[in-house]
Point group: C2
Chain length 377, copies 2
Amino acid sequence: MTTDRIRSFLTERRPEGPCLIVDLDVVRENYQAFAHALPDTRIFYAVKANPAPEILKLLAELGSSFDTASVVEIELALAAGASADRISYGNTIKKERDIARAHELGVRLFAVDSIAEVDKIVRAAPGARVFCRVLTDGVGADWPLSRKFGCDPAMAIEILEYAHRNGLTAAGVSFHVGSQQRDTEAWDRALEMAAGVFRTLAERGIQLTLVNLGGGFPTRYLKDVPVVGAYGEAIFGALRRHFGNRLPETIIEPGRGMVGSAGVIKAEVVLVSRKSDEDPLRWVFLDIGKFGGLAETMDEAIRYPIRTPHDGGEVAPCVIAGPTCDSADVLYERDPYHLPLGLEIGDEILIESTGAYTTTYASVAFNGFAPLQSYVI
Amino acid sequence: MTTDRIRSFLTERRPEGPCLIVDLDVVRENYQAFAHALPDTRIFYAVKANPAPEILKLLAELGSSFDTASVVEIELALAAGASADRISYGNTIKKERDIARAHELGVRLFAVDSIAEVDKIVRAAPGARVFCRVLTDGVGADWPLSRKFGCDPAMAIEILEYAHRNGLTAAGVSFHVGSQQRDTEAWDRALEMAAGVFRTLAERGIQLTLVNLGGGFPTRYLKDVPVVGAYGEAIFGALRRHFGNRLPETIIEPGRGMVGSAGVIKAEVVLVSRKSDEDPLRWVFLDIGKFGGLAETMDEAIRYPIRTPHDGGEVAPCVIAGPTCDSADVLYERDPYHLPLGLEIGDEILIESTGAYTTTYASVAFNGFAPLQSYVI
């Protein structure tokens, strides 16, 4: 998954220190795969996955819309060339002054999951369109989401009715089937719920029009994942099953699925050691860890593919850890990672599928280490 | 624990957005308490806990030495006025070029826990003093450390002998009894082990001189912790027990214990909501979370005291979460936090004992949110 362009960049530029290289050709292919798999669905790229200006500009040119989490992300999307009608303020937790600022910038689509948030939008963005996030169970996801976002369907109905009665456009519902979702059928149950919300509100004279299908589209790490086309078919089937011929307007919010596979982190082996002479495990310390951009190894949730100069040689289990003086800065220990026995101090390795949720996760200066450098080519 | 100086600063300056305010008077008191409790021990402040230049400058003036994790931290300590002989490069995982740079800057004390690391120091910092970190069990710590740092005592003996034979000064051993260690006796077992290493090497003609007692000194969060004097007495007792009248040179590396209680984070309530009409729990969303500086709430390990404008009123359990669109950005959920029922959107709250491991942990721009602002007064 390290493309020829990335290999050439590394060979020619030899950047110092740990860094991420993103290949825009892969981002383009990923965008086109989504657009092809779900031709009637608008794509809102989840800017938080990787807000590099070059990525946003490419996606804006390709016709993408943008899911944003903050005013800063809205400004980035606008700067990349997206018009305000292609931007959704998808965070359900917003300061009222940030809603006002987004409204000033022309944004008209907002996420909510509570009456209190609707009240803020009524005051700060009168007349805006809102969609209500509903809780789902996240079965089948490598990283099921917590209950942080969304409310139960009965409360969503109240919230949308309340929004409608207070001068907003009750646009529809959103949900998120869980990050790195490998079950293409996960959208079925959520769409059944969404159709129920549509029906109940229609009975009350409120016509919803929008289903935000969220993100959750996976990147291939070590385990295989279904192709985007399989998700498209499963989602289209579920839409037909639950909405019949009256298909709603739909949007998706891929982040990881759009940029994860486009990025590779170059890192260096700083130390290989054992804890005792009898220790069966080697400890491999890299110049990047949990605080330098690999936060998603938290609980060993995501297992990145790693390439070394010794691939093909005999392997043995290792603990892999980062360079900081923080004992929590360990990437893989509970389930040791197999790396070549030939691995040595000073070796450069490639950590693949790291295009999403790495650069912006890096800490500002923990232990004095610089944040992750990024090159978009 | 919010001092009058911090309250006045907040009232007069009314800083916008989440921020940390550190009161240098408290840092000074903490330094003096350590110096008083362990008068014969050198204090090496763990720079990683909070590298604010004003803190380093104050501690340098008070006579502190500095435990550093990287070349950047060494440069910060030098810039604050510490001479190179007051700096320890305490990270056991160092690139050889960083060792060379530290050596160039005059640093002569280095941590190791492997033969490979000794080899680097032999090449890049010939003649330096090294201490070997030994694994301990961490019993009694709120946050026992992983096995990331240190090796077993038998290996430590080999490593120190190897260092000695290769022209380095085998200075001694270090250990860490676990972060936020509330058992003052935790140092006893570690010192017994250290004395054993001293004896074995003395039999081989190598006289160790240094015991680095590490950090682990706690900050008072919600639970009471022993006063610094109690640690001093327990440690001195253990030193006498295991080293008799030939007490080694000792150093401690307080980080959290030096600055934790000196800082308060001002934050704002962004949303208070429930997930359903029947939900017994309120969700309280703040403008700071795990990615904005409160990373140590990971696994709900550290429970910060929180002050609100409604303290004294009736309380009820809440989930507390941060402002990002990341479902892992939840501070307290497994064990809900009791906050006043009167708490409202827009309220300013104070998160106390947040002087350590907050600013530098903040992510560079996750979700477009700025890193934690810091004011040292």
